[in-house]
């Protein structure tokens, strides 16, 4: 099996799957063009994550990562949760195959996006606005440097950064062409 027992356990019995209808924050990252898509819902009480739920479209690793992130996040303060890194998640899962490391990048990102969404709403004082995550907002692949959208089917150039990009042969993530190492997995690039 390409996955660790821990990954398979979280894939088979994912924790905290679902939607929180009256969520305090919602975060969505990725899209089907790039492979995976995750939506995280959080419920906040006294600056702590009282509940976290997720939905994931993606491979076994993506599902396991989401499950692990949700488990790690529940009960933590928002600041603590912001410190959950992708690397930490992969470690907790007993490692991921190299070409699946980019899946673990999405998990923590989606959680952080939900926390940012919550904080934004707090700042604007507009609690009524629990907008549903917009699928349109994340259409197409994103540049790993500026997070701006890349043209569909052409993940090789970011117009905003004006840099050439390439797919990392190890992890499949999009990284800058000519760099010595991949921005996602740290593997040496040809």
């Amino acid at each position: 099996m390409i996955y660790s027992d821990k990954v398979m356990d979280h894939f088979q019995n994912p924790r905290n799957v679902g939607v929180i209808a009256d969520a305090d924050g919602v975060g969505q990252v990725g899209n089907p063009v790039c492979g995976d898509m995750m939506t995280f819902y959080i419920k906040v009480d006294n600056d702590h994550l009282k509940d976290v739920k997720f939905q994931t479209f993606g491979c076994g690793a993506a599902i396991a990562v989401s499950s692990m992130v949700s488990e790690m996040a529940i009960g933590k303060t928002l600041d603590e949760a912001m410190h959950i890194t992708n690397k930490l998640v992969a470690e907790q899962l007993g490692g991921l195959p190299k070409n699946k490391l980019h899946c673990s990048n999405l998990g923590a990102d989606a959680l952080h996006a939900a926390i940012k969404d919550y904080r934004k709403k707090q700042a604007s004082g507009d609690e009524a606005e629990t907008a549903a995550p917009s699928l349109e907002a994340s259409e197409g692949c994103a540049c790993p440097y500026c997070e701006g959208p890349l043209d569909e089917g052409d993940a090789e150039y970011c117009k905003a950064c004006q840099i050439e990009l390439e797919e990392c042969p190890s992890c499949g993530g999009i990284t800058k062409k000519g760099d010595a190492t991949c921005v996602h997995c740290g593997e040496k690039l040809g």
Partner: protein, 393 residues
């Protein structure tokens, strides 16, 4: 647990007769076919027999068959070797959009050497229009390559018509028959092809066995240069056990083709009919009738292929998928995208390919365990939630 293996295209079991034929050549009959002594001559005789058997499977004569180490090698050999064998003839290539990567990547390499390529599109069933191939041919065209049948969606191409168009224009035509050879009748004469690739492991021969048919008198540049093996067109000591196994498997495939087809066709059709009934939003990919007799492929909406493969495997069912997550390169299948499917749908790709021993009970088992596997993943999918919301609106 009931086991149900539906991944013929990735690997099929070695036919017992092929194994039996191979055994002496993994043991006491270790001679090199190029040696003059009795050990060598025994191996050479076995090679001759295997060449006859493989030629028989495709209606070729023995001297038109060149052994390779895989279907991919045969494809590389054909594309690079034929395109570059006629320096005066032109530097334009025509391929279909759904070719295997062992065709498309050599074509890319040739582009770096100055060749240009026209990629002919396919319709939503994955079929190539022979007229479109004909229109793509220019006076500069060196080679046309269109596959006999596609492994991912099972669609069979109108190869004889395409070959005729090429012949009329005096252009070489190669077909990648790796997914088709051994499963459907092929006759290189009737098809009118100049070159054809096949692989032994697709018809219950051993892995690491392949061959290129090359019509008598066709020039080709070797891919592997060295000694005089394979008439100097493919150097390297012959893999005698693998070749013998492929030969035996070819003979069995020829004898058993109709039997296998009449047994597998109803089972395949049950999967094609009943799987979309068992689960909503499942669509057949590829052509309904012009498809390989052991092949059923689908896209399951709102979820991704790898999750389904893992879920099915836990229930004893093995299949494969063309989803981005499943491929090591993490790219969505170029075949499904060429057929006009969007990325999200293509991610839900699922391929069931039956083997000789597939039983009705195994198909029952698949149809029983499939719905809960899909259901579980859809409950987790934000795309499905979104769809349900839209529907309720």
């Amino acid at each position: 647990m009931t086991r149900a293996y539906f991944d013929h295209l990735s690997a099929a079991p070695l036919h017992p007769e092929a194994l039996k034929a191979m055994m002496p050549f993994l043991g006491e009959e270790f001679g090199n076919p190029q040696s003059l002594h009795s050990y060598g001559q025994k191996a050479a005789a076995a090679l001759d027999e295997a060449r006859d058997q493989v030629a028989g499977l495709i209606g070729a004569s023995a001297e038109e068959v060149y052994f390779t180490a895989s279907g991919s090698e045969a494809n590389n050999f054909a594309v690079k070797g034929l395109a570059q064998a006629h320096p005066g003839k032109g530097r334009h290539l025509v391929v279909s959009a759904v070719e295997h990567l062992s065709i498309l990547n050599p074509v890319k390499s040739l582009e770096k050497l100055g060749f240009s390529t026209t990629t002919v599109p396919v319709d939503s069933a994955g079929r190539v229009d022979p007229g479109a191939v004909e229109r793509a041919i220019t006076k500069d065209t060196a080679l046309v390559s269109v596959m006999t049948a596609n492994g991912e969606v099972g669609t069979i191409q109108p190869v004889a018509e395409i070959a005729r168009a090429c012949r009329d224009r005096g252009v070489l035509f190669h077909t990648d028959a790796v997914a088709a050879a051994g499963s459907i009748p092929l006759d290189v004469g009737e098809m009118g092809v100049d070159a054809l690739s096949l692989a032994g492991d697709q018809f219950y021969g051993p892995k690491g066995s392949g061959a290129l048919f090359l019509k008598k008198g066709t020039r080709i540049l070797p891919l592997i240069e060295g000694g005089v093996q394979e008439s100097g067109r493919r150097a390297g000591t012959e893999n005698v056990p693998a070749i013998v196994g492929m030969g035996r498997a070819a003979a069995v495939a020829l004898a058993e083709m109709e039997n296998r087809k009449s047994r597998l066709l109803p089972l395949r059709d049950r999967i094609i009919e009943d799987l979309p009934r068992a689960v909503d939003h499942v669509m057949l990919t590829g052509h309904r009738s012009l498809r390989l007799p052991h092949h059923a492929s689908f896209c399951v909406r709102f979820i991704e292929g790898e999750g389904m493969l893992l879920g099915l495997d836990m229930q004893g069912v093995q299949a494969s998928s063309g989803s981005a997550c499943t491929s090591k390169a993490l790219k969505a299948s170029h075949v499904l995208l060429a057929m006009g499917l969007d990325h999200a749908t293509a991610q839900g790709s699922l391929v069931f390919s039956l083997i000789e021993g597939t039983t009705a009970a195994e198909v029952d088992h698949l149809l029983e365990v499939f719905p809960p596997v899909v259901d579980r993943l859809r409950k987790m999918s934000p795309l499905y939630t979104e769809y349900l919301k839209e529907k309720a609106r």
